[in-house]
Symmetry: C4
Subunit: 207 residues, 4 copies
Amino acid sequence: MLRPREGETERDRDRIVNLSDGVFAIAITLLILDIRVPEISENLVSRQLPEALLSLWPKYLGYILSFVGISAFWLIHHSIFRPIRDYDRTLLYLNFLFLMVVAFVPFPTSLLGEYGNHQLPVAIYAATLAVGRLLLTAIHWYSTRNDRLLDEPQDPATVRFFLIRGLTIPAIFLLSIAVSIFSVGVAIWTWLIMLAVDALVIHRRFR
Amino acid sequence: MLRPREGETERDRDRIVNLSDGVFAIAITLLILDIRVPEISENLVSRQLPEALLSLWPKYLGYILSFVGISAFWLIHHSIFRPIRDYDRTLLYLNFLFLMVVAFVPFPTSLLGEYGNHQLPVAIYAATLAVGRLLLTAIHWYSTRNDRLLDEPQDPATVRFFLIRGLTIPAIFLLSIAVSIFSVGVAIWTWLIMLAVDALVIHRRFR
Amino acid sequence: MLRPREGETERDRDRIVNLSDGVFAIAITLLILDIRVPEISENLVSRQLPEALLSLWPKYLGYILSFVGISAFWLIHHSIFRPIRDYDRTLLYLNFLFLMVVAFVPFPTSLLGEYGNHQLPVAIYAATLAVGRLLLTAIHWYSTRNDRLLDEPQDPATVRFFLIRGLTIPAIFLLSIAVSIFSVGVAIWTWLIMLAVDALVIHRRFR
Amino acid sequence: MLRPREGETERDRDRIVNLSDGVFAIAITLLILDIRVPEISENLVSRQLPEALLSLWPKYLGYILSFVGISAFWLIHHSIFRPIRDYDRTLLYLNFLFLMVVAFVPFPTSLLGEYGNHQLPVAIYAATLAVGRLLLTAIHWYSTRNDRLLDEPQDPATVRFFLIRGLTIPAIFLLSIAVSIFSVGVAIWTWLIMLAVDALVIHRRFR
């Protein structure tokens, strides 16, 4: 039943994209549920609330980090699916596997917000984003290898550029796990620097 | 008011599919809310966190199981609705009944993650998926019986193949309830084996 | 800025419908978060779990009731918006007011599931659904009074039929509040009987 | 990869709008999770429930306030995106930044519902809505400055009117922070009066 007649694939593809966008939208919006209002007895609020809100900073950082991470995933997903016109079961399975990682992100985020000064949460967070990014690379690799899934052949140089990028980023995430053994703070900085460098590279390439 | 003029049904059908996709997307993304970060006092984190995270494995298993289950429901829903062009109240009611089961899945998943080594949660989980699958079969049966709901008559052999599949899978789920009385672990394995066999059968048929 | 050029309104209307469907989908899926797995110490699970799950029946009832209620709201919303092609600020405001009630439903549902044998929760629940239904009637009344919002004039008899229905149902809900003062159980039954009668009337009219 | 071929941008733009609508829909529906049913022992329900529900009034107020605030954001977002046909990375980044604020709103709402009689929560709430509104103004400013992103040049007088409005509203929000130092109640009233005045101005302009 998953073999559409001609002219139908467009709408089918849209349904896959819509489901994915639903998961993206919910995952980034659920992140806020992890930041809970501190409980303070009424007569102490004025004195203790400012400090209590400041002490939640790892939660805010986690919120921003994961919001940026999932947004970046969306941007890449968007780019990968733009030329895709057809699909098969493998593409669907890869996409569901990827969505499973996207929907999972709130958990390592919560872990990072709670125990962000420890090595294990940092490693789990980096591993989650690395796996998500690798699955996006797999989807990209699979769809460009099967020209029949695309509306027209892609420029090989561009495809190669994005596959390399799609392997470099998860590699750096995995490397940051090794870094986190020595310094948790440095590992988190690695992610931010990587993000900035990546945005710069993309900007340069498409000037 | 639910009798559309010609040329309108396409968009109406899309609204039903969109609502369904919304419920699918939210149900799979809410599953993660059930995995909560363990609470450990700061000075014990390094020592106790690894073990605490490992002990959550029934929760991870539940997450993966239900994610796969709801994804499979989506794939089948997608296949069933592709040829549907028109709809009536019965189809709408059946679809809402099905969505009620999809939205319910996080509860038996949570139950399974908490008390997965007991018989009752395993039975409730199997029953939920069996009922969901049966409702999909009912939607399929109803839509193919009413040719006016389809854009063109379906191949009877294919329809029969999918109806048989749509009855076998819930039958195995219900059987696994009987199995769970003797061994909870074997019952869960039954589901995984069934999934693998089903994927293989589908793959063979559409090679 | 809210005055579209010709040929654009179609897509604009779709965006309003999409946002509404998002709220519908999330509201019905969030209902399940109110049914929480009972906490039982490991060695007592086999003995106490069946009873603990059974004692949650008011929660299950609330889940089904609100799922049916919100689904019915969606069906009516769907019927009302089908002929609507254009919109203005009043329609947008009415629709947002209605969505505010839809998104609110999980709270009275939770109240009903917790204290369903008391009068106040039953009255609040009935009032919420009555207000939601009245807002739908207001949207219907407003859009049919302004022919310019529709793609073509509606049959006056049909419009009148639906306006009467749209006033009778909230009236019965409000009446059930009076009933609930004498018997909470009878008030809940009023809703179910009303639903059945309404489905029958609709079925007869469109045979 | 983010440079679409001609004729494709329409659908790409729709995907951005869909994702945004998903975040809007979820953010307004999640607000209800902050209103929790009070816990009262069974034999005291009749006596204590009415008062317990009344004492939740700051929560109800927060729900309505944020629902109206996010709805207003949606209306403006809708107006801004209507003439947009194309997009670039800057527009995407601005939109994601804006969505990050929309998804954040439930937290200051919860803070306001809990400690609404204190200055800090009122200030944080006002600051959040001010930043959100400013980002919308930035998106509007950026898209109208780049005619290539629009389907046709906009009327300069209208653009100027909306930019001024888009700066006045956040300015009043920021001013209300200063007001809140003297009176928390007056600050909240400032928002409501501003909303009413704004609706009146818009109504007058487009009569």
